[in-house]
Subunit: 379 residues, 4 copies
Amino acid sequence: MAEKKKLNIGLAGYGFMGRTHTNAYIQADHFFDLKFKPVLKAVCGRGDNVQDFASQWGFESVERDWRRLVERKDIDIVDICLPNRLHAEVAIAAANAGKMIICEKPLAMNAVQGAAMVDAVEKNKVANLVSYNYRRIPAVALAKKIIEEGRLGKIFHSRHLFLQDWTISSDLPQGGTALWRLDANEAGSGVTGDLLAHNIDTAIWLNGPVEKVSAITETFVKERKHNLSGRMEKVSIDDASLFLAKFANGSLATFEATRYARGHKAKFYFELNGEKASLSWDLHDLNRLQFFNHEDEGIVRGWHSIHVTDGEHPYMDKWWVPGLQIGYEHSFVHQVADFLDGLYKGQPASPTFSEALETQKVCDAVLESGKTGRWVTIG
Amino acid sequence: MAEKKKLNIGLAGYGFMGRTHTNAYIQADHFFDLKFKPVLKAVCGRGDNVQDFASQWGFESVERDWRRLVERKDIDIVDICLPNRLHAEVAIAAANAGKMIICEKPLAMNAVQGAAMVDAVEKNKVANLVSYNYRRIPAVALAKKIIEEGRLGKIFHSRHLFLQDWTISSDLPQGGTALWRLDANEAGSGVTGDLLAHNIDTAIWLNGPVEKVSAITETFVKERKHNLSGRMEKVSIDDASLFLAKFANGSLATFEATRYARGHKAKFYFELNGEKASLSWDLHDLNRLQFFNHEDEGIVRGWHSIHVTDGEHPYMDKWWVPGLQIGYEHSFVHQVADFLDGLYKGQPASPTFSEALETQKVCDAVLESGKTGRWVTIG
Amino acid sequence: MAEKKKLNIGLAGYGFMGRTHTNAYIQADHFFDLKFKPVLKAVCGRGDNVQDFASQWGFESVERDWRRLVERKDIDIVDICLPNRLHAEVAIAAANAGKMIICEKPLAMNAVQGAAMVDAVEKNKVANLVSYNYRRIPAVALAKKIIEEGRLGKIFHSRHLFLQDWTISSDLPQGGTALWRLDANEAGSGVTGDLLAHNIDTAIWLNGPVEKVSAITETFVKERKHNLSGRMEKVSIDDASLFLAKFANGSLATFEATRYARGHKAKFYFELNGEKASLSWDLHDLNRLQFFNHEDEGIVRGWHSIHVTDGEHPYMDKWWVPGLQIGYEHSFVHQVADFLDGLYKGQPASPTFSEALETQKVCDAVLESGKTGRWVTIG
Amino acid sequence: MAEKKKLNIGLAGYGFMGRTHTNAYIQADHFFDLKFKPVLKAVCGRGDNVQDFASQWGFESVERDWRRLVERKDIDIVDICLPNRLHAEVAIAAANAGKMIICEKPLAMNAVQGAAMVDAVEKNKVANLVSYNYRRIPAVALAKKIIEEGRLGKIFHSRHLFLQDWTISSDLPQGGTALWRLDANEAGSGVTGDLLAHNIDTAIWLNGPVEKVSAITETFVKERKHNLSGRMEKVSIDDASLFLAKFANGSLATFEATRYARGHKAKFYFELNGEKASLSWDLHDLNRLQFFNHEDEGIVRGWHSIHVTDGEHPYMDKWWVPGLQIGYEHSFVHQVADFLDGLYKGQPASPTFSEALETQKVCDAVLESGKTGRWVTIG
């Protein structure tokens, strides 16, 4: 094998997402035939155990301040796994420093920030990607392929869920490192940015632009103890966010995200119904795609339960043999592989910052509609 | 066995619903231990084959005009299985003639008509029932029981679907005896009255009153040949109807009904998520209830797939033995049994006209919101 | 409608099976367009409540002794729903009296008895049928159609289960009217005749003759109180019966029946694997057939979950509309319809006594192999 | 973090299994808190691309002859991922050289070889493990835990499947590096050693020793072109292997393994039915365990579909968050973790060579029974 060009990774943040991204760099190098070799150059964090993280995963160095990381000459890619509040600031600095950027979703706290980020990466002409990882689950990629081949025909309906149940207890506090997702100052919004953003990203990718939305949002637990102040404070995030949508292609949709749906730990689900066929997918059974083809012969027509583990399914030739499943983290491995492949081919992997901004705009419209009670047209 | 008091049935309409109701009178008498014996006294219809229907099912006589049926002294119960346009007129006449009434759903073309029907039955003090038959599927009745026992705790969310796919072809005509459901003059509305009404009835029954709704409706096929005129005419029904709801108990919901969802012939589905437990049901697997109990021990916690065929499940002691399923038509058999049992006990079976009027009001609000684009509060 | 020729039914036995058969005569007349009209002429039983049964279901008369029933000139069809011990005696008498016979399964206590029954019906040239009702579940009939059309290609494997759990408690007594199935004197065998016989009938029907078997049988609860003696007595039936089979077509199979499988009330299941396709069915979801077609295009290949409720599916044009399910008892309705249709067309419905004798021979071979521990070739 | 003691791995064979084992050493180090650090010291293979494999995965050196590998002083663990024919020879040499051994399953070509291997590791007192990896799927480990806690009560039945479909085409050749599994000289047997061995291992682990078996084996395709000779040669492996078993605890079972079951790529499935509860698992949905608890309250009793992704489920605290799945390869990661943890604690991970010999004996008995047609008691 020829020597590969090395790309030095600088990871900002080493929480849950930092771990998924780090693993992805390692595994992409093992399982994909890439033209670049990612090198775990530096991890940046303020917590006490950042050094342990670096040792565990083999990062060559540690930084304590993201500004230092961004300035380092030996870093090629800045990978942002920080709370949403920091996305814009870090990304813009990194872009201005000429770094490639992989940024966790959502792109930003809001579309205004997001637009500034798009400007920064475009002005500096740096490769950029937002980590909407679920696109790269093989079954989801297969859904995309099926739709692109025109197998659904005109699409009439879709429905989109992201259901969790981990915040039902009012004893759960908010804020701090562990629970910044419950603090609007850190997260920008609640389930809209955390969960619905995934639904919206997938929906746009599969079904085209959203034209308008009517939403309702709710905060079921009004006060929680804040981890930083130690006091009961008002909860300012949305606990649940539901909306109706009309898409540019004329199809109608329902969206729902919540952390108050017992029995669902991570039910990211979508279904699309077209003139000729329908399909659906559920993260809880991530290796399967359900597909109904009206063009099947009548007496044997029925939903196909496709076990997306064959070599001809997206990404699956890189893993094991037919019938053997992969898991959640593989979506990030595919993301690294696609990003590096896009670099090599000069065809940026999706979604870029610019593409992810469309999702951000819909999130903003949902939050606005939830406040005003009016239909909001996407700008 | 003691001689039972006979109750003479006068059936108005002998289409699909006339058949389900007729079968129900016969089967209820065979499988339930009732205090009354329904007698198939007369069937009324204008079509050529009403006599064949009467012979096939053993009706003693035939009428050609519903006014004659309503006036007959020997009729105890008028059972209305006519297009929606006629519900109010026939029901009010029957009430004024002192007849008990079983009326197919939806109650009426709209809430104004429905209110007049309620007045008529209440003024005349006649027993009355609207045929929201799905409440009496054993799995749905079990859901009701589980909720009434408080097993879900506070309810946060529900979602409600009724998905069909039989009108996707634009070659399908509208109107006439076979397709009056596609003609707003006969049906009042499209899927809102035909399908969503079932969802709304079940939702109110399980989860309490709806406070407000925001809807979107759509007519995908704008023109269809009309069976009566033979000409292409504008389609005035709603092909699809989706709405967001807030319930009086604070919970949020999505509702969706359509005849444009490939792969679904009659997917009537609901799910409710409560603080302590969740449940869901699908008409395509009507003998099962899915139940998730958060109070189950952690390592074995999971959705219970309850095969609702045991003797202790609602209605099931009347049928076969555990494991053996029943079907769609049994819901109507249970309806007859409950109606007759209610007569005997002096506790009217649900939903009465008055209860069904609440569903009608939500239907009206959905159609209004679909037109205005505004949230509509239920009156 | 033209007047139909009436056929008078004489029902022997009015237990669980008597009820399914009676309902079937009534419903077949309502839902199928038959050339004959079954008339509930007489029911025969020794129990106190036979008169109540007759009243409930509309039998015109009651007999206390099956010999009287068989001799009555006004009976056309003798329908035998008695414990297995009586099948041969009653059937032979009925045949000699020139009656048509519908007999509950299994045909007899053993193949020797069964052969005598076949002789009797063939000598007297009377129409005859054994009630292997599950063949007439629409999904099972669809499986047959799919196989007959050659869609599976060469068959390599099949597996067959009938799992119940109702005799696990050792407190359950044996014998008497309610529990004659646990008494080998009445039933001939345990699960082999009661449950496995269904599996074998279906297997032969779908996959051709069985060549040889190797079995193991077990009686888990060795003693139970006998309802007649009131004393603990040895249990002489097989509680569980499992066997390996080689079919004449070269395919291999496993069979298993038991009443000791927790979680399964009536799991009658089969799966067949062929060169080109596979299919499976489960009584607990009786309206579905699972079908895998290797000839489907690769990326969308998967098990089809066929909801067997469309008008083009076997029998389903007689019931409701697509998506609406039927239940267990409908298999008996179809059986009556097919029997009467076979009479009219002169093509006897299956399985005749002669065909059911093949199943009986395999049952005998299974019991013999269970005793000897040797492979037994079917005679 | 304290410096960990390094353990040098010498991998013999770098095919499919070599890849799963290599990945496991790396990932175990990243995701588990181990006392030892595995070091990829050397990989041994005769093929041209062994150097590429070493580079891809980071092995420090390459050997061409397994004898050299076994002799190297710097190797602590010899990991045998070679065709079955070589297991005994390599393992005995490694044991005699004082190496710890992880050996792919099945242990050996037959129990005679296996016994010699057990002697070697026991005489040399070297740690040893056979790679029956499926035990370490979290759902399977949960099944074990549930059974060990006595939740099933007395077990009556089990059934065990391993269904594949990749050898149906008679155009597929046999033998050589790619297809040694079809060549009895290399593999010892066909599906008995390759697939059934997994079923037997799991069955013994969950349900205790097998007492006796009655089997049938078949070779559906009698001749295939041999990759080494280039000529059509007789196929000497078993294409399918089915057996009945009686276990020492009195329970009965069916086992079936085949590569001729359309629709199943890797359907490794087991179900156990006990007095109080039942459970089942399917490799095609590897993150789920189905559990039926008869002690659940009657009206909500049903199979629990347990999504085995919570932190309290076996191994899952090491991975992501509840709801997020893992895949096939994780079973090998857990195996490495358990092996190293067992070394540290002085409690060998299962199954040792000695334990795996029991599985080998059952395999031998199955093959013997398949030949003789007799029940064979396990020695």
